[in-house]
């Protein structure tokens, strides 16, 4: 039952926001598209020239670009299932009645990791994972594991990023799934619990259907955020050692900010954006149906 209003009123209300978002969101994007057709390097400005689709052709066949994409996909493929598994476990525990006070406490502590400044998570990772002075290696020592060189070894650094991604985003997944669990009508859930003793059956046949929207939301947002992931691995390893943790956003930052090749970085970011939008649309078609 929304109403029609004169166009002037409408513009007065919505115009400023639209204008602001156009200015900061769309104009730079257009600029990036324009620059992506140029050879444009800040250190060699005199050589700037129009190169058409050359940057795109280069990026699309560039193994470095696809390796960074591959690393990003690997991170997603390893971290997200773990986050969903742990998150679902946490959500199921918090969803059960009883121990009210402790559950409130647990919920509050779950909020902390995802609010933590992402750059600080990378610094924390550096300090806690340090081979010699890090507390995590000390703890591993208690159970008889020799100190691991997390930051300096390519595979271990990658594992380190995965661990901290899991630390930061498992609570997020848990709280989304918990919200999903609360959409199950209590009567249905109680009836099912009277029917069967197996929690698994209740989960599989009663709760899971209600969790589908939440799971889709998790997939959409984790996809977008993994493609965006910059701060944490950047402060932790700077994409290294070598290029072991150079995820797509770090690669683009390196090309643009440390190699000054803005034309190329623009082409890379446009391609990444296209991939993000394609994936998001795929999920959104399935999900954001309201409004």
């Amino acid at each position: 039952m929304t109403m029609r209003v004169p166009r002037r009123t409408l513009f007065a209300f919505i115009g400023p926001a639209v204008f602001a978002l156009l200015l900061v969101g769309v104009v730079p994007l257009g600029f990036a598209v324009w620059r992506s057709f140029y050879y444009f390097n800040l250190t060699k400005l005199s050589e700037s020239r129009f190169v058409g689709l050359d940057n795109y052709a280069f990026v699309l066949t560039d193994p470095v670009f696809w390796q960074a994409m591959g690393r990003t996909a690997t991170l997603f493929a390893v971290a997200v299932p773990v986050q969903i598994f742990l998150g679902l476990t946490i959500a199921l525990v918090l969803h059960r009645p009883g121990l009210g006070f402790f559950k409130v406490l647990a919920r509050l502590s779950l909020v902390l990791p995802m609010a933590t400044t992402y750059a600080v998570v990378g610094l924390l990772a550096q300090v806690m994972l340090n081979q010699k002075y890090g507390v995590i290696n000390q703890m591993l020592g208690w159970i008889g594991i020799d100190p691991i060189n997390f930051i300096g070894d390519p595979t271990n650094a990658f594992i380190g990023v995965i661990i901290w991604d899991i630390w930061q985003w498992t609570p997020f997944v848990a709280l989304i799934l918990l919200a999903g669990l609360s959409t199950v009508p209590p009567e249905i859930e109680e009836a099912a619990q009277l029917e069967t003793k197996s929690n698994w059956v209740v989960l599989r046949h009663v709760q899971l259907p209600y969790l589908i929207p939440s799971l889709v939301a998790v997939l959409i947002l984790r996809t977008a955020d993994t493609l965006k992931l910059f701060d944490m691995p950047f402060t932790m390893t700077r994409g290294g050692p070598g290029s072991a943790t150079e995820f797509i956003a770090i690669l683009i930052e390196r090309v643009g900010n440390r190699q000054f090749d803005i034309g190329m970085a623009s082409a890379q970011s446009i391609i990444m954006l296209a991939i993000t939008i394609a994936l998001a649309r795929l999920y959104i078609r399935f999900f954001y149906r309201e409004v």
Partner: protein, 275 residues
């Protein structure tokens, strides 16, 4: 017979809850304790759990390493962008909730998509544009760029909030001859305050945490705290205590805000995919 099983379950649950809390909180414990260590104590191998704490790191980073300056920059940028996002976003949210117009769905979709655009896509063009406009390394550049994520959040959460206000109220006012603006300012906005507050807190948190734009657009004069923290790692020896003192200073305000808005943080991060 059921009782022992249940209490056993309860125990298992309790242990699990303690594990969850420890998992979430331990890094913060370690961050704070490390920030209270001198470099000598921090470089003990294996690390010490008990030691005499000192606040020396905080004095050093705040007054010698310009972290205080960076925190002030962060504060300016985050509060201004939040104020701007709320000022621009609330009327837009009201329009989306109350008015009927063509292209509403597309507009909505466009607002939402901003959640998916990586800052790295915008950072370089903005770097060039701001250089040409003389906005490089100013608070203004960051304040404007942060609108790309704060404005959609405000619009999303406030639209939801305005929708929940009964329309009978505005209809009555409309019959009395009030203009839309008066209805918005006098009737709906005061009722929507909880939503506005939540969206402001979330905007503040996300702006405060942002690194990429800050790192590329504001290398010196408008340097924010996260960008300052990064530069600590560029030296030869890593000053653990100082890094963790800086981290603690950066993280404390967001954690306070996050706890204040704890029920809504997930909603903000999901752009409303979860109620």
């Amino acid at each position: 017979m059921a009782a022992p099983v249940q209490s056993k379950n309860l125990w298992a649950e309790g242990v699990l809850l303690v594990l969850i809390c420890t998992f979430c909180i331990f890094p913060f414990y370690w961050m704070v304790t490390t920030s209270l260590k001198t470099q000598v104590i921090a470089l003990q191998s294996p690390p010490l759990w008990w030691f005499t704490p000192t606040l020396a790191n905080y004095w050093e980073v705040l007054f010698e390493d310009k972290v205080g300056f960076a925190l002030i920059n962060s504060m300016i940028v985050a509060s201004c962008t939040t104020a701007l996002a709320v000022g621009l976003g609330c009327p837009a949210a009201y329009a989306l909730a109350r008015f009927e117009f063509r292209g509403k769905k597309d507009l909505w979709f466009w607002f939402i998509t901003n959640r998916f655009v990586s800052p790295v896509v915008l950072a370089f063009p903005v770097f060039l544009i701001s250089r040409d406009l003389g906005l490089r390394d100013t608070h203004m550049a960051l304040i404007l760029m942060y609108l790309t994520f704060t404005l959609p959040i405000v619009i999303w959460i406030c639209t939801d909030q305005f929708r929940s206000i009964p329309k009978e109220l505005d209809e009555a006012a409309l019959l009395e001859g009030a203009s839309q603006w008066v209805i918005f300012r006098r009737i709906c906005l005061p009722l929507a305050m909880p939503g506005v507050a939540v969206s402001a807190i979330l905007s503040f948190i996300f702006s405060w945490n942002e690194l990429l734009f800050a790192y590329i657009l504001a290398p010196k004069n408008a340097k924010t705290a996260p960008a300052m923290a990064v530069t600590f790692m560029e030296g030869y020896s890593v000053p653990f205590g100082k890094i963790m003192a800086t981290s603690t200073l950066i993280v404390i305000p967001v954690l306070i805000f996050a706890l204040l808005a704890s029920k809504h943080l997930v909603r903000g991060l999901t752009m409303g995919a979860v109620k």
